[in-house]
């Protein structure tokens, strides 16, 4: 009799339940859930005036702001689907995503207006409007949706594939819901929690914070970009209890923190975006920073595996166990791998996408018996803890041996003069592929390739030692500060 797929609209329910709680704190303003809801409702009515309809795909090109938060909710209120664009992409890449998603509307903030105009020039069927122009429209009085359907799409997020075109991951309301609930069952939920969002809201890591915001009724401190000084201040002086980071961000936070410490109320540094160097985790452990390693993908609506608090130290380096409603296994040659044997990481759960937009073949390829094949490589230890070795697409196969870039990078980072490291496989006549390393050097230090080779020789099997070392000024990273190994190939070409 009861429909378990329908639920009151999350923002409207939250504004009803706890209207006066602080929803967002940004540099310029603080809004309660009631205020956020009124702004989102107004924007939804203006979106309708702009012609947006139920199930339309609506693209955003915005940096982190309250306007972007309201846009997401406004799109939900009209039952349309958000297509957040990565602001760092080239115009051509953005046009490609707009075409692929058949977005009818592109909404830009002031900073991306010019970019929006260039996109519109190339793709005139898609209406382009700035947020300010949208806000200036009169409100339409068509009815809004007061409920969400867990099986309907909420977002289409493009994955940054290494080869070929990116794919649009369809995330339903239910995928986001179950991710938020699974995370709460793991991390707990305290009345004073305050989550710092300094990751982009166009990525699933940032978007998942917006979902938690309304579902938990939790205050979010919103930074427009990642500024290690500002983030450190938010944790130390502004009551932030939780923050999502990737290891490149964590490294800069540690640098900024220096000899200082975070307050005891800071309870969770949620670390995603690929394997973290063990040496960094050890620094955190020594400083008492509560690191929660995670593993997740756009396809899993952010993390699906997280290390529970009681194992933070004992299982250092592990991404942990699945969230309560989810499952993982390791597959090797179509057979479930034994503990400690590496293979492909395969996941299952109500937070996992039902597939890629308009890509039935790609979708079919990643599913088998209801399990999603991630393409990433890892193993489970005897207790069922996941260790992520690498993203399969970055796997280097040298003379028949598997070589994981992350392992070599972790070794390079142990060198006191090396700031950052990225490793890729390059073609080699004899071995098929060999590792090549790109490193940045700490200010005021000097290092020769031979010193790097001999440092590695002491720590790595012969076939894992980089055959080439390149010294560069900076490594290519995406907006989430994740290392883009594919872009290292471009450096190679120079």
């Amino acid at each position: 009799m009861m429909n378990q797929k329908q639920m009151p609209n999350w923002l409207s329910q939250r504004a009803f339940l706890t209207p006066n709680r602080q929803a967002f704190i940004s540099r310029d303003e603080t809004v309660t859930f009631e205020e956020l809801n009124l702004q989102a409702l107004s924007l939804a009515r203006k979106l309708q005036s702009a012609g947006a309809k139920r199930l339309d795909h609506i693209a955003f090109l915005c940096e982190n702001s309250l306007d972007l938060v309201c846009l997401y909710h406004a799109v939900s209120y009209i039952g349309a689907v958000s297509v957040p664009l990565n602001t760092r992409l080239t115009v051509e890449e953005q046009v490609w995503q707009i075409e692929d998603s058949k977005a009818v509307l592109l909404i830009c903030d002031r900073a991306h207006e010019e970019q929006g105009i260039r996109i519109h020039g190339l793709k005139q069927q898609t209406t382009m409007i700035t947020i300010n122009d949208l806000k200036a429209l009169t409100e339409n009085d068509l009815p809004l949706l007061d409920h969400v359907d867990l099986e309907e799409p909420h977002t289409i997020i493009y994955t940054s594939g290494t080869t070929g075109h990116p794919k649009g991951v369809i995330l339903t309301n239910g995928n986001h819901w179950w991710n938020a609930v699974g995370s709460a069952l793991n991390l707990g939920l305290q009345q004073g929690d305050k989550w710092l969002s300094c990751v982009p809201l166009f990525h699933v890591s940032g978007l998942s914070i917006l979902m938690k915001n309304v579902i938990y009724g939790m205050t979010v401190v919103l930074h427009s970009t990642f500024d290690p000084e500002a983030a450190t201040q938010a944790i130390k002086d502004e009551g932030v209890t939780m923050v999502s980071v990737v290891s490149a961000m964590l490294s800069r936070l540690l640098e900024t923190l220096g000899e200082d410490a975070y307050p005891d109320t800071f309870r969770c540094m949620l670390l995603g975006g690929g394997p973290a160097p063990k040496v960094m985790l050890e620094v955190c452990k020594d400083k008492g920073i509560p690191i929660y390693q995670t593993y997740g993908l756009s396809e899993t609506a952010s993390q699906i595996v997280t290390l529970a608090p009681e194992y933070m130290i004992e299982k250092l380096g592990s991404a942990g166990k699945p969230l309560f409603p989810a499952e993982i296994k390791i597959m090797k040659d179509s057979i479930e791998a034994q503990p400690n044997k590496e293979g492909e990481i395969v996941v299952k759960g109500p937070n996992v996408t039902s597939g890629y937009l308009n890509r039935p073949e790609a979708t079919e390829k990643v599913y088998q018996d209801g399990w999603f094949y991630t393409g990433d490589v890892g193993y489970l230890d005897d207790d069922g803890f996941l260790y992520v070795l690498d993203r399969r697409k970055d796997l280097i196969i040298s003379g028949g041996e598997n070589v994981y870039p992350a392992e070599i990078e972790a070794v390079l980072l142990q060198h006191h003069f090396i700031e950052e490291a990225g490793v890729i496989g390059v073609s080699h006549a004899q071995w098929g592929q060999v590792p090549a390393a790109f490193v940045t050097i700490k200010e005021g230090q000097e290092l020769s390739p031979n010193e790097v080779f001999s440092f590695c020789k002491e720590r790595l099997a012969g076939y894992k030692i980089p055959k080439y070392v390149y010294f560069v000024d900076e490594l290519p990273r995406n907006a989430s500060k994740k290392l883009l190994r594919r872009d290292l190939y471009k450096l190679l070409a120079k």
Copy 2:
């Protein structure tokens, strides 16, 4: 592609995720989740040896114990359905429920063995076995279910209707899941939480604690019965942070506490089981006891409405707002009532039962457009907070005016000499019905009917003043200490 209705078996997943956390602390033993799981798995295999199969209905006649906890989980592992019997019922009433539910097996603990034999004498088709005999069986090696289906039934709980036979409420895995999740989103979830269960596990209030235990990974302190001294000690000295009570229990806890106070770590006194006297809530407020008033039914898998922490004082006496995934409204003459207008409380949500066992007509009667009609009376204030006036079935209609027993009881309890009070409607030639009051007097005090009448006269409209006052030694209450107004009629007959 992904099935959102399937989830790993909760106990097995919990034992996998946090094997070493304390699951239960009872007087005799403490078990971790891993130990609990092993015991439940063993019991499941023995249940199969006893002939129990998937979808079978299996009745329990047990007091609170770890054995009963394991029984619930063992039944889930074989995909059967638990039918917990209220141990306070007469043998005839228990036989009726076993017949109605077509239970194939009745499992008794040692304390109820004799009762079980008498039931079996009257109902020989149902196999009767004691827990000890069950445990002595050898394990069957048929496969167990490693997943739960949210749409399949978990429990059948009989409601204590005032008239006619009780109805078996079907609660699915999903109903329990959503109740636990909705409650966590409201009350929060902290690593050190420890829930005291001193309400019967055969009622939904106790059963819902078992669900939270595995879903949250939260330690439960299990008392076999409600002993105010032991409960007070558990809160004061044994780290209990949360407890479920009804107002009669709370009253005795306050008595035991005396001038003392609970520690600051005690964060939630979850108060259900009908409207609480305001005077008692005020005492709690003065003593800084964190009372969370709730409203719920067997049909909603325990509470569906709870007062959020920030409104505890401002909205004293309210049961609060719905849990995040749920909704409420007030209906009067088939129209949604305005704020502050009383009517029937109508609820909706994924925690609400899909109906009564083998009672299509009764089920149809309580549903309309996906909303469940509770039969209870209340109103929503201007801010949407629910005030429960009374259970409709107890409503007294006197000279065309609605009279709510709870209101009169609350007034009677304000009298310093009155310990407990219960009010019912009795037939009256002129007015149709008039209120009759049953009261118990505090030790060493004396009171005459006239003193009670004049006390009420100062506080109540004329038609609300009890026409009869009866002094009794104790009031009839069920196993959850809820006042049984229907049993007051029996006192009247004496």
